[in-house]
Symmetry: none
């Protein structure tokens, strides 16, 4: 289970260190575009459950083609190197606006990779809306003893 947030740097070659805790589960992984302008990193095993479903979407519907392109073509196989780093392809760094300082966040079954500035903005925006978020949370906490 991936938890916590880490501040790391992307170097000149586009490499990003995977938090050491998570490396064993991410030796083989897939990065792709996420919502809200971040990248998402799945363990390969998880990704292999998603990909066939996306690929099987009907090609006669335009919206389905767009979805499968959005998800599959923007994804990239990655492996951690000897130093525990992955290489993020150019087009994904551009998409997420990644420069140097990034935040790697553990979200239970996946990692999210954010540009640090955007992460902070998102965080403060979230805190302002904490009331409505609290409402959504109440649904979840009903069965805690």
């Amino acid at each position: 289970m991936f938890l916590g947030q880490y501040s790391h740097n992307i170097d000149a070659k586009g490499r990003l260190a995977v938090p050491a805790k998570f490396r064993n589960d991410l030796k083989k992984a897939v990065v792709t575009q996420g919502f809200d302008n971040c990248l998402v990193l799945y363990p390969k095993k998880s990704w292999e459950q998603i990909a066939p479903k996306v690929a099987a979407m009907p090609i006669n519907k335009e919206s389905s083609r767009a979805v499968s392109r959005f998800i599959l073509a923007s994804a990239m196989d990655v492996e951690v190197d000897g130093q525990g780093r992955i290489v993020l392809p150019d087009y994904l760094r551009k998409f997420a606006g990644l420069d140097k300082k990034v935040v790697v966040a553990g979200l239970y079954d996946r990692l999210e990779i954010w540009d640090e500035d955007q992460w902070n903005k998102m965080k403060s925006a979230t805190e302002k809306n904490s009331n409505s978020i609290a409402e959504q949370l109440s649904d979840l906490s009903t069965n805690i003893e």
Copy 2:
């Protein structure tokens, strides 16, 4: 599994480098016309499963006849040469509006080949509709571990 997007150039002789990752699976392949003005490249093995199905489409419907002509009659056998390139026939380059800069996209079981400008337009159009994409995705991602 083919994933990711690659920017390559078509040279004056109509040759296109296949991304090195994919070459082993595409020593023998078939290119044909795809939807949305792109070309599609199948491994020969996959093509041999697709072609009979396309050929078997009902001949009493005009739209079916048109589709099977569209796909079958424009298909062409290709092999990667010593430098890892394939030759794209004139009529396919014309069809897809391929000039020099192209994008090769991995879509799980096939590659798509796009003119770079058209690829970018399609991408930005898709990102504008990312809400509807999110909806379609929610159906798929429910059982991610």
